[in-house]
């Protein structure tokens, strides 16, 4: 029987620190798109709570419980991350595997919002983009999901095929920011 080895979008343990910002490859675990059917959002949320301990997020928000997180990712859509979806969810929603489609990174440091300000046309400073926020926007010319996962940390998810460009754009922005004269 053939054996297929798995490849990740970034090298395991990939990490870059430029200036005061550190970029790391993020291991998401399973990623599943959940899209509740007509009138089923509340039932889906109840099923999510029973199975995984968290509710279906409101627009622009993230819910979490233990290893599981649910990031709002669009109209009638959220991504369940970190756990395989319970079969009962399919009674209320389209449940579609996305574990292989995304490249995820975390950006950590004081100047994270300043780095992203060069690439994303949304105010991502902590006051405007608080803990538990999850939005969809563009980074450069790429569609991304952005979530604030810490006071000084933002998680970025982009398409797997554009992982290289995602890394390149962020490194350029971090370098440019670090090159600015201090004070």
């Amino acid at each position: 029987m053939v054996e297929l080895t798995a490849s990740a979008p970034f090298d395991a343990g990939m990490e870059r620190t430029i200036g005061a910002v550190t970029l790391r490859a993020a291991e998401t675990g399973p990623v599943t798109a959940l899209m509740p059917y007509a009138g089923q959002e509340r039932a889906l949320s109840a099923a999510l709570e029973r199975a995984h301990g968290l509710e279906f997020p409101a627009a622009g928000r993230m819910t979490s419980a233990g290893q599981a997180r649910c990031l709002w990712s669009g109209l009638d859509q959220a991504m369940l991350i970190g756990v395989e979806p319970d079969p009962a969810l399919a009674d209320h929603a389209a449940v579609v595997a996305q574990s292989d489609g995304w490249a995820a990174l975390t950006l950590t440091g004081d100047a994270v919002a300043d780095v992203l300000a060069r690439l994303v046309p949304v105010d991502l400073r902590p006051a405007a983009f608080e803990q538990g926020a999850s939005i969809r926007s563009e980074l450069g010319h790429m569609m991304v999901i952005l979530a604030r996962t810490g006071p000084q940390q933002v998680t970025v998810m982009g398409f797997r095929s554009m992982a290289g460009t995602l890394l390149h754009e962020l490194e350029n922005a971090m370098t440019a920011l670090a090159a600015r004269p201090k004070g």
Binding site: L4, T5, Q77, G140, H141, M162
Partner: protein, 430 residues
């Protein structure tokens, strides 16, 4: 200068209106890093590294990079590689990464009804485990895109789009669902990135895949246009028996993390069977030999009937574009899809060239049509073309005068059926 021209003094003429920038700024600063490879995102398939390691010459399709051909030692011109790859696929087996085509997962109680509305054809009658080719029309009646719909379950379809139109189709589906059919209970999401998908095609394709997937691969279990779940080394994948080359063919999909490994495995096994990897040049030659259309033909100003697929617009149901496709301006006196091949001294047909009657004046008034795709067919030993000609179906066997006004090349062509190779499709259907 203006002072001189108007005969006034400099002080009286004044200055132009001040507009920023007020000091010189290098153009590169406006570019903000968008130079070279930074100009646009690069989309790379899971087989990209392996293809480049094999010396593939890459070509851009939108933001994607795909192999055009794989030059072998001794090959110095792309035609040598392309001709070899075509013969390799038709004689043995070829492997091509087709992950870039849009793939959309469509589910819900109204999934079938929704697809009946966005496709010209009927998808609700598609049986579970079967695939159907489909055209999507624009509301003005012209063809927007073509692809396939695969039914994986009663309420579960996976549809494909062309690489270039994937984003446009997704936007269109969102429009139809939210703007026109908000009461339809259907949900969809792109899975283009989720699945790595490879075409495995040629007389040896079934044997190659039979040795790779975990369950037996019997032609009877997988008739032409069948689809379903398979496992490869215990990994859950999908198999589709479809062909764009015209040979017995399959497409095998695995979650993208296994794409690189599966590609290496497929190519190694193909090479062991006298075949190997092929690129877009060979893929294009083979589909032209089969008369299969691409966006070169469905360029936004052709209807389903123009490409010989009028019967694919189902009579008994409404769909986007149904009404306008039937308007007199789009049904009478049209330029329709034909094949062309050179029969005179000049053995060339050229995409973009126009077609005129064999005798008589050459003018916009006598212009009968144009060529959309052309390639040298190593299989048939001649150049072949597809194009659109007024009254084309009534002109089979006639000769026309092809003129490429830009390059100054003329040739005499015969009008043929678009399908030049294996017209009955026996090699595909098995």
């Amino acid at each position: 200068m203006l002072a001189d021209a108007t005969g006034r003094g400099i002080a009286e003429t004044g200055t132009t209106t001040y507009r920023p920038p007020y000091v010189p700024v290098p153009i590169a600063a406006f570019g903000a890093g968008s130079q070279g490879m930074g100009f646009a995102p690069r989309r790379l398939t899971t087989s990209d590294a392996a293809a480049r390691a094999r010396g593939a010459v890459m070509i851009e399709t939108g933001l994607w990079y795909r192999p055009a051909y794989f030059p072998q030692p001794g090959e110095t011109h792309w035609r040598q590689s392309c001709d070899r790859e075509v013969a390799m696929v038709r004689g043995h087996v070829g492997v091509c990464d087709v992950s870039t085509l849009g793939k959309i997962d469509v589910q819900g109680p109204d999934a079938a009804a929704f697809l009946d509305f966005v496709y010209a054809g009927t998808m609700s009658t598609l049986k579970v485990g079967r695939v159907r080719y489909g055209l999507m029309l624009r509301e003005d009646g012209f063809v927007m895109d073509d692809g396939t719909a695969a039914r994986l379950g009663e309420r579960h379809f996976v549809i494909t789009t062309t690489t270039a139109a994937a984003g446009q189709v997704m936007r269109h589906l969102d429009w139809v669902q939210q703007g026109l059919c908000p009461d339809m209970d259907v949900r969809f999401v792109s899975v283009t990135e989720q699945w790595a998908q490879f075409a495995v095609t040629g007389p040896m394709a079934q044997a190659l895949l039979a040795g790779l997937i975990d369950a037996p691969l019997d032609g009877a279990d997988w008739p032409f246009m069948a689809c379903g779940a398979v496992t490869v080394g215990g990994i859950a994948g999908r198999l589709f028996r479809i062909s764009f080359s015209g040979e017995a063919g399959y497409e095998i999909a695995v979650p993208a993390r296994y794409g690189a490994a599966l590609y290496r495995e497929l190519v190694a096994r193909a090479e062991a069977a006298g075949g190997g990897a092929y690129g877009l040049e060979a893929l294009n030659v083979m589909r032209i030999e089969k008369g299969f259309i691409t966006h070169a033909e469905i360029h936004g100003r052709v209807t389903a009937a123009d490409v010989g697929m009028g019967r694919m617009v189902a009579a008994g149901k409404d769909c986007v574009g149904k009404v306008m496709a039937a308007r007199p301006g789009l049904t009478e006196d049209r330029q329709v899809l034909v094949g062309l091949r050179p029969v005179g001294v000049v053995r060339q047909v050229i995409a973009g060239a126009h077609l005129f009657p064999a005798d008589g004046p050459v003018s916009p008034e006598t212009d009968l049509g144009y060529i959309t795709s052309a390639a040298y067919s190593p299989t048939l030993g001649t150049m072949l073309a597809l194009g659109f000609v007024r009254g084309g179906r009534e002109r089979l066997g006639q000769t026309l005068r092809m003129i490429d006004h830009m390059r100054g090349i003329e040739a005499i062509c015969e009008v043929t059926d678009p399908v030049a190779y294996d017209p009955d499709g026996g090699r595909m259907r098995g």
